[in-house]
């Protein structure tokens, strides 16, 4: 058989193509799931918290500006959830307890936002705060009644909520940290409690030092 250079060349070309394909497809070998890619891009783009109106477990109604000048530690959940949300909220409670008391309520507020406004009325939310010993002031649980506002927030923060049978939702979970100006500055793994608490405390300490 005659020697040809085409085939080795084609092989090199295919290899190069494969490498570029995987490089581009995974953002430089960094994101193999859409969730990682989502979190990376959120941290990079730092979206602003959109204008929404909350109704919390104490029946108070207020806009986002209620939290102006404070860091807000956020999770998204719904109270009927029996799988991941209780763990998410429990872990959130542990982060809450690891933040020094002097900051709580003054510099940082914890906020659990329900994306099931139909069922999560103030009474239900109040009951839910009880399960996690949330005081309803420094750790609030609230719903957003306006579906359009809720959707814009979920969209902006990349929360994917899929409704399925029995009124349950499948959704991705994370800890979100919004700064004093309402800018999303970090998205953290909700299973890494220590790491998240450390991150929050460092930010708060640096902020105090300035």
């Amino acid at each position: 058989m005659k020697k040809n250079w085409h085939t080795p060349f084609a092989l090199a070309l295919v290899l190069l193509f494969g490498l570029s394909l995987f490089y581009i497809g995974t953002d430089g070998f960094k994101a193999y799931t859409a969730e990682t890619a989502r979190v990376n891009s959120l941290i990079e783009n730092q979206p602003q918290f959109p204008e929404v109106t909350f109704e919390d477990s104490k029946g108070r109604v207020y806009p986002v500006s209620e939290f102006d000048g404070k860091y807000v530690f956020i999770t998204f959940m719904y109270t009927y959830c029996s799988t991941v949300c209780p763990i998410l909220e429990m872990n959130m409670g542990q982060v809450y307890s690891q933040v020094p008391e002097e900051y709580i309520g003054e510099d940082i507020v914890f906020l659990s936002i329900s994306f099931d406004p139909e069922r999560d009325d103030p009474v239900t939310l109040a009951e839910y705060t009880g399960h996690f010993n949330a005081d309803g002031d420094t750790w609030r649980m609230a719903r957003i009644n306006d579906q359009e506002e809720l959707d814009s927030l979920l969209e902006e923060f990349g929360v994917v909520v899929i409704p399925y049978e029995n009124g349950d939702f499948a959704h991705n979970s994370a800890f979100y940290l919004v700064d004093r100006e309402g800018t999303l500055i970090d998205v953290m793994d909700y299973t890494e409690i220590g790491e998240a608490a450390e991150r929050v405390n460092t930010i708060l300490e640096n902020d105090k030092g300035e």
């Binding site: 058989m1 040809n4 084609a10 295919v14 494969g18 394909l21 193999y32 799931t33």
Partner: protein, 185 residues
């Protein structure tokens, strides 16, 4: 109807929005039915392409290795959880799926397969078997939702789909190693 037309029809049929939406709504069907069918569409269309451009394939894929490598790359690419998600949410990725699977996997597979020796063929089947077992375990055991557009239960189903495919491949490998068809003629 010749093979090319059949393949082209299959590709067009699969790309029809209602068909695509239906197949993509179930994770395991998306990966183990729609994607292989796209490869098959390319496989069927390959014949005409080979006849039209025999010199091209002879020159550039003389031993079948570049072609089969391209096939492997495309297959592995579509096994990444993220690409499954983005095929649903990012249009350019969706279009790439309909182009890459038939034309960059189906066609090279057909051209390369005949050129490969028995050992290479078996090595390929064994690697895919191992990969399917690994992917199956990943999708079954992962505590996290790997694809944002699919539920965890679908992810587990997909995992078992992978394991089933791998088990079938093992049966085939044992069969081809142990049974000599000429004994039964």
């Amino acid at each position: 109807m010749n093979q090319f037309t059949a393949g082209l029809f299959l590709l067009i049929f699969l790309a029809l929005p209602p068909v695509a939406n239906l197949l993509e709504s179930i994770m395991v069907v998306h990966m183990h039915m729609q994607m292989p069918l796209l490869v098959i569409a390319g496989f069927l269309m390959a014949k005409l392409v080979q006849e039209r451009f025999p010199v091209f394939f002879e020159n550039w894929n003389s031993n079948g290795v570049p072609g089969i490598l391209l096939f492997i790359i495309i297959m592995v690419y579509w096994m990444i959880p993220r690409t499954m998600d983005e095929a649903l949410t990012v249009q350019s990725v969706a279009i790439f799926k309909y182009i890459s699977l038939p034309f960059l996997a189906g066609i090279p597979l057909r051209d390369s397969w005949k050129k490969l020796g028995d050992k290479s063929k078996n090595a390929l089947i064994i690697s895919f078997t191992v990969m399917f077992f690994a992917m199956g375990l990943l999708y079954i055991m992962s505590p996290e939702q790997l694809c944002n557009n699919y539920l965890i239960i679908e992810q587990i189903t997909l995992g078992w789909g992978f394991i089933t495919m791998a088990a079938c491949a093992v049966v085939y490998l044992i069969y081809s190693a142990v049974v000599d068809p000429s004994d039964y003629v």
